[in-house]
């Protein structure tokens, strides 16, 4: 059992310090005495005494001393009221419980009690300790505690529960099945605090149960930016594996697409051909879900945590289309400037990347130049990278750089540089001669290692080259007198032998010299002398009739049996002195003079990417324990509808947890889109560009919402698939009819319409085969959707995201309802919408974000604000004029309007090349506020000051809404921030008016009837907000 092994280790460990004589162990007597006092202090049951004793004990534990004999006394101290004593006792218990199982059981009831404590910190730490006590007997108790804690109201406790899962699993693997259910539940947890730990537990427990991820995939992508940095590492790692199992290789598709494009170019006008190409290769080969993941992770390259950056880098390397890997380069280079240890690991990973994608780091070549202060391992890695990225264009700079490295006092590095020069010479034919010349020069230096390495490299290069070698070989033979490195000498001899036909006069001469020194040579050199002798004999034995037998005779009595062996072999084949020729002699040439394949000078990192980048196994270049190889992409993507979430409950969560509100706004915007779609459909036939915009718009939308899809869309998707297969020949008409169907199906405006319009859009996104996109306009769709995603992600990054609160999840932040400022019909093709992003407030003003969309097919130029007509102290700060909006593009600008806490509309004129259009922005009353974070006690005291005439109250019926939904509705209605309340069923929101910064507090008592009170100096605003809130709750 595992416990036993650990116990032995424990025992060893305890002995260690004694032998080392750690201070505190002066003599057994003193030692005993020390413990005696500690025991007394513990038994005193006085907090101060116990604290002092426990501090001493834990100090000894920290130093690795054995204090296990105090266990009985420490266990008793677990009931202490003092938090610090308790915590110290916990630490002690966890350390020794395994060896004192029976006594440890005494403390269990305390933890069980702790699990029920109203204080979440105590609940969490009780669970932590309980699960850390490795005693088999309490497995059922642990199981129960974990199950309870998973549904605890406090996310902190739930996080602890996630951590407890692998603990229990390692203690008793039989619990795996039950724990998987628990993990499944945790994976669905809505708070970001829990998500990272839940994924970590998943990775430890059941990493292969990819099916548990499907439903959570899109949500995890959406919130990954908000998870804490350590959780991000776990999540991205897991999602990388997920992506490798669920999506087809994006690069494979790209190739197909390329070829398709070529064919379509060949017959440009052929509509049919184009349609075919559309069908066979989607426009964007990347699965939209994979795209979602990549988009979500990309901003994390700006994380301060190098592990996160590395994880994103490996995700892109393993899962992104080739063209996008470049995004990670800068971030990785930045990491090189951080800690030394980080540098080594990042360099190793870059080396692997550069071995596969040479171009990737080419621009950053200079970042890999070696510094004099780099340790050797860093230098070697940098050298490897530089060699990997060498091309015709940068080779001259590189060689100049290598030149300085060759003279480095670090010999290992200098030799590696020579090797690198050789590799460059072999790979880039333009510089082969230059390199060769350089290497020849190096041979004449005084440094043995460099010379030796040069000779070896030259030998390899010569083998690869077909050109005339005699000159170089002659020069090298001269070196035999000076070079001492055995491998280098052997290499020279081998060269002379190999090309003996080219230098027939040289060989006997060399052989003569070597015959003299034969006895003193190293073994490898001796073998090469024998080889040379044999080869020279075969070519021309006239001049060496005496020399060869002499060498063979020396070899015959050599100490090394390899050499004697070789000698015997050569003698039998060649029979130099015997009269009767050996039957083997005619084969001699075949034995010795075969052409040999040139050696391959290649990066040793070439195939290292079979290990996942960033992993320990990759660093070690071998399988680490517990390493899970990255699966290769499937040939055919598994059904993508599994990721579609059937019940919409989490969509609501996502809506809350994301600051961007797109989903929440959906109701209204969708109405907008669909109603416009209605009118559009009629004239879309000639207005190609228009419908294109429509298309991209709705796609954009749906991209944001794709996570929110309901079952409807999956059925819709199937629909479109069917349609496709049915009517493949006539795609365009099909498109029309399908969209017409859509129109027919749509019940007239408002909420229901919106529901309908969305699936159509999603279908296009999820399934690119959907032919609705008109020809030659499809390209912009992806970038556009990515823009919005970026926005989204940007929002995730802000702090206003996911207040991991106790109880249901509340949202602090903005809900961006889009309003129409200028319809495209009345704006001459310029459609302007505005929304309240609720972020980036400049004092007093309400920030408003305008999206200007050019729906025409010509650029709209010089868009600016003019003729501002303001009343009642309203102030307006506009945007700089926009020089141009290209057709089909949209631009986002921010303006700030100080409404001075009134509902006065801000009127102004929007000028563009299309004319002047009057506009008006009237803010909903809830947007005149700015959220303001307070703690509950402050909230209550402020509320106390704002009673009487500053208070307006009202009530409304509760039609079965839970506090979570209500809180969300309130924060959608008014820009407030929730103040976490200890009271159940009481929701508190705080905000200030934007201009005059008057406090406005909203309190809701949720029961059968919801009682609402709004306290504010701005009584008018208060009462209006009250009305609005009642309206949305009752709606």
């Amino acid at each position: 059992m595992a416990g036993m092994g650990a116990f032995v280790a424990q025992y060893d460990n305890n002995r260690g310090p004694d032998q080392q004589g750690t201070p505190g162990f002066m003599g057994s007597n003193l030692f005993f005495k020390g413990h005696q006092t500690l025991k007394e202090q513990l038994q005193s049951m006085k907090d101060k005494e116990m604290l002092e004793a426990m501090r001493k004990i834990v100090e000894m534990v920290a130093k690795g001393q054995d204090v296990s004999d105090l266990f009985p006394d420490v266990v008793k101290a677990v009931v202490s009221k003092s938090t610090e004593v308790k915590k110290l006792v916990y630490m002690y218990l966890v350390r020794y419980a395994e060896e004192q199982q029976d006594l440890a059981l005494l403390s269990i009831s305390t933890f069980q009690k702790g699990l029920k404590d109203p204080n979440q910190l105590i609940r969490a730490s009780a669970l932590r300790v309980l699960s850390s006590i490795r005693v088999q007997m309490i497995v059922p108790i642990m199981m129960l505690a974990i199950k309870d804690s998973v549904s605890d109201l406090s996310p902190y406790v739930r996080k602890t529960a996630a951590h407890a899962i692998p603990k229990l699993y390692s203690l008793d693997p039989d619990q795996g099945e039950q724990l998987i259910d628990v993990v499944e539940k945790l994976l669905q947890d809505k708070t970001t605090l829990v998500a990272g730990s839940a994924v970590m537990a998943f990775e430890q427990l059941c990493p292969s149960r990819i099916d548990l991820i499907h439903k959570n995939y899109r949500r995890l992508c959406a919130i990954v930016a908000d998870i804490d940095e350590w959780g991000q590492c776990a999540v991205i790692n897991m999602l990388t594996r997920y992506a490798r199992t669920q999506f087809v290789d994006p690069n494979r598709k790209t190739e197909e697409k390329d070829s398709d494009e070529e064919t379509s170019e060949d017959s440009e006008d052929s509509e049919e051909n184009f349609m075919n190409s559309l069908q066979s290769g989607p426009i964007d080969a990347v699965d939209p879900d994979l795209r979602l993941l990549l988009q979500a992770c990309r901003p994390l390259l700006q994380s301060r945590n190098s592990a996160v950056v590395m994880q994103v880098a490996q995700l892109f390397y393993h899962c992104a289309p080739e063209g996008e890997i470049v995004h990670v380069v800068k971030a990785l280079i930045r990491l090189l400037k951080s800690k030394r240890e980080t540098q080594v690991i990042v360099l190793t990973n870059i080396t692997t990347m550069s071995a596969k994608y040479r171009k990737l780091f080419e621009l950053h070549m200079k970042s890999f130049f070696v510094n004099a202060s780099d340790p050797t391992n860093v230098r070697l890695l940098k050298l490897e990278i530089l060699t990997n990225i060498a091309t015709e264009t940068n080779i001259s700079v590189l060689l100049r750089e290598f030149q300085t490295y060759v003279y480095s006092s670090d010999k290992e590095f200098a030799a590696a540089t020579v090797h690198a020069i050789g590799r460059c010479a072999a790979e880039i034919s333009e510089v082969t001669d230059v390199c060769m010349h350089g290497l020849m020069n190096l041979i004449s230096t005084k440094d043995d290692t460099v010379v030796g390495e040069s000779v070896i490299v030259i030998k390899k290069l010569l083998q690869m080259q077909a050109s005339d070698k005699s000159g170089i070989i002659k020069r090298m033979t001269r070196l035999l007198t000076t070079v001492t490195v055995p491998l280098a000498r052997a290499s020279i001899l081998w060269l002379v032998g190999e090309y003996v036909e080219k230098v027939p006069k040289l060989a006997p001469d060399v052989l003569r010299k070597m015959a003299k020194s034969f006895a003193d040579e190293e073994d490898i050199v001796k073998l090469q002398i024998l080889n040379l002798a044999a080869k020279a004999w075969i070519v021309n034995n006239k001049k060496i009739t005496l020399l060869v037998p002499y060498i063979l005779a020396q070899a015959k009595y050599d100490l090394n049996y390899d050499i004697r062996d070789r000698e015997r072999f050569i003698r039998k084949v060649l029979c130099p002195n015997s009269e009767n020729p050996s039957p083997l002699e005619k084969y001699a040439k075949k034995f010795f003079m075969t052409s040999k394949p040139p050696p391959n000078l290649r990066s040793t990192f070439k195939n290292r990417d079979e290990y996942q980048l960033g992993s320990l196994s990759h660093m070690l270049n071998s399988n680490a324990i517990g390493y899970q190889p990255l699966p290769s992409f499937p040939e055919v993507a598994p059904d993508s509808s599994v990721r579609t979430v059937v019940d919409t409950s989490w969509a609501a969560q996502a809506r809350e947890s994301r600051s961007s509100s797109a989903s929440a706004t959906n109701h209204k915007t969708k109405g907008f889109y669909s109603s416009e779609g209605d009118t559009d459909e009629e004239d879309s036939d000639e207005e190609d560009s228009d419908s294109e915009d429509e298309e991209s718009d709705s796609e954009e939308e749906s991209d944001e919402e794709s996570d929110e899809e309901s079952d409807e869309d999956s059925s819709e998707e199937e629909d479109s698939n069917e349609e496709e297969s049915d009517k493949e020949e006539d795609e365009s008409s099909d498109e029309d009819s399908s969209s017409e169907e859509e129109v027919v199906k749509k019940p007239p405006p408002k909420t229901k319409t919106s529901k309908k319009a969305k699936p159509a859009a999603t279908a296009t996104l999820l399934d690119f085969d959907e032919p609705s996109a008109p020809p030659n306009v499809t390209a912009p769709t992806v970038p556009q959707s990515s823009v919005t995603l970026d926005e989204l992600l940007g929002d995730f990054g802000t702090m206003s995201v996911d207040p991991a609160s106790s109880g249901p999840n509340y949202s602090l932040d903005s809900v961006r309802v889009t309003h129409d400022l200028l319809h495209r019909m009345s704006g001459g093709g310029l459609a302007v919408q505005y929304s309240f992003p609720r972020s980036g407030t400049i004092s007093g003003a309400v920030p408003i974000s305008l999206v200007l969309n050019n729906t025409t097919d010509q650029p709209i130029t010089d868009v600016k604000v003019d003729d501002i007509d303001l009343k009642g102290g309203v102030e307006f700060s506009g945007f700089d004029s926009i020089p141009m909006i290209s057709p089909g593009q949209s631009t986002q600008v921010g303006i700030n309007i100080n409404f001075n806490d009134t509902l006065q509309p801000a009127k102004f004129t929007l000028c563009s090349s299309k004319g002047r259009f009057p506009c008006k922005i009237q803010p909903p009353v809830g947007e005149l506020l700015s959220p303001f974070v307070v703690i509950e006690s402050d909230f209550d005291s402020m509320k106390g000051k704002l009673s009487g005439m500053h208070e307006v109250t009202g009530e409304c019926g509760n039609c079965g809404k839970d506090p979570g939904t209500i809180s969300q509705l309130v924060s959608e209605t008014a820009a407030t921030s929730i103040c976490f309340s200890a009271e159940t069923n009481c929701l508190k929101f705080a905000s200030k008016t934007a201009a005059q910064e008057k406090t406005l507090l909203i309190t809701l008592n949720v029961g059968e009837i919801i009682k609402i009170s709004v306290n504010s100096e701005a009584v008018v605003l208060g009462s209006m907000i009250l009305k609005d809130i009642i309206k949305v709750i009752e709606a």
Partner: protein, 417 residues
């Protein structure tokens, strides 16, 4: 991603602290680490990852302490390294320094911190402000308070920020003097070859903040030339979206010191080199000749301070005799380092150092090309040209005191000869 244990090891190879988060790992696992440590020529050369037959040891070296993490299965090495550095950062914040003696003096706090930071080998709470609320730093005031009132250094309630959406900021912060200081520190890494050509030059900058503001201030900082910053990393408090759209740093700052942003200006951009160095070092006929001149260049009128030139001589050199126009020189015969301390470069006096080094008879080091390392510091200059335009505070009413400081330093600034 599981860290089994962490051992703290000092320079002489003693384990002075150990903490286990799962089953106890015997100290003997560190033996292989000690082997590597003795083999390495300098402490920095110890490989960060060592494999033993059952365990993997991942180590960092900082402040003359090795932290060795033991893990028994596949992990992301950077994850462990980053975490251990975070541990050391936390200790530095707690004890002002993170030396062996500081850790030994505060062993209980250290142990409690480690317990909070890692649960079952997975990070739990690493945000400094949460930790400081859970476990009080052993400042003199805190110690005095606990002596008098008997209050403990450990909180019994979960810090609110653990659950808030701004986990890096403590709630209810109050200061009598509200101040926010920003230090924009740039390190220039450069390689200059013998002819004076810049082979590569990069700038690595940090904006370090020291913020003491009451309440929940919402700051936004804008730059005159944000285009410079194309490769940045941020503290989690920065709103990425705002940066992407408007190039404005908008954030609710943590309380106290933190690094707001790091940026990297790579070799592709033109980097101004603030000093020039002309060096001649050659060895001939058993003698070495040295001639080095240093001067300011592209400093926008700011004085270059703390200039130190270090030349690692070949190991054959036994002594140096130099004459310097400014500053003093020393030669360490053990490390073979010639160090020339110039200090401030006065505008009219060009610092030069000339002289010769002695070689033992017969020693040849013709091929020696020592690389000169240059150190300097320029106050009130950010060599990249980065400038803070303005800093605004929202959400609070008081007027804070604001200050921005620029410093340019030599990072890895070397001149080849």
């Amino acid at each position: 991603m599981l860290i089994n244990s962490i051992f703290f090891i000092n320079h002489s190879g003693d384990i002075f602290l150990e903490k286990h988060w799962r089953s106890i790992v015997s100290r003997s696992v560190c033996d292989q680490f000690f082997d590597a440590q003795t083999k390495a020529p300098t402490p920095e050369d110890v490989p960060p990852i060592i494999t033993t037959n059952k365990n993997y040891l991942i180590s960092i070296y900082r402040e003359k302490i090795y932290l060795v993490a033991v893990t028994q299965m596949e992990v992301q090495p950077l994850f462990v390294i980053e975490f251990m550095h975070r541990v050391m950062d936390t200790f530095t914040e707690y004890f002002d320094e993170c030396t062996e003696s500081a850790i030994k003096d505060n062993i209980i706090v250290v142990y409690q911190l480690l317990e909070e930071m890692l649960d079952n080998g997975f990070p739990l709470a690493t945000e400094l402000n949460i930790l400081t609320e859970l476990i009080k730093p052993p400042t003199i005031i805190n110690k005095a308070v606990s002596m008098v009132t008997g209050k403990e250094g450990v909180s019994s309630v979960l810090p609110g920020s653990q659950l808030s959406n701004v986990p890096w900021r403590r709630q209810g912060v109050k200061y009598a003097n509200n101040e926010a200081y920003f230090d924009c520190i740039e390190d220039v890494d450069a390689i200059i070859d013998a002819s004076g050509t810049v082979v590569s030059a990069e700038i690595h900058g940090n904006i370090n903040c020291n913020v003491h503001l009451s309440g929940m201030p919402d700051l936004s900082m804008s730059f005159i030339n944000p285009r410079l910053l194309d490769d940045v990393s941020f503290h989690p408090c920065v709103r990425l979206k705002r940066w992407e759209n408007e190039k404005i740093l908008s954030f609710v700052p943590p309380d106290g010191c933190f690094v707001l942003m790091s940026y990297h200006i790579s070799t592709q951009n033109q980097v101004a080199i603030p000093v020039y160095v002309r060096a001649m070092i050659n060895f001939k006929d058993g003698m070495g000749k040295v001639d080095i001149t240093v001067g300011p260049k592209q400093t926008l009128g700011k004085t270059v301070d703390n200039v130190v030139i270090t030349v690692p001589m070949p190991k054959e050199v036994t002594g140096c005799s130099m004459t310097t126009s400014v500053g003093t020189y020393t030669f360490d015969p053990v490390s073979k380092q010639l160090r020339w301390d110039i200090g401030k470069i006065q505008p009219l006096k060009v610092p030069t150092m000339r002289g010769s080094c002695t070689l033992p008879a017969g020693a040849q080091c013709k091929d020696a090309h020592p690389t000169i390392h240059v150190d300097f510091k320029i106050m009130q200059l950010a060599v990249s040209g980065l400038k803070v335009n303005r800093l605004d505070m929202f959400n609070e009413n008081y007027k804070p005191f604001k200050g921005v400081k620029y410093i340019t330093k030599a990072g890895n600034f070397q001149v080849r000869t």
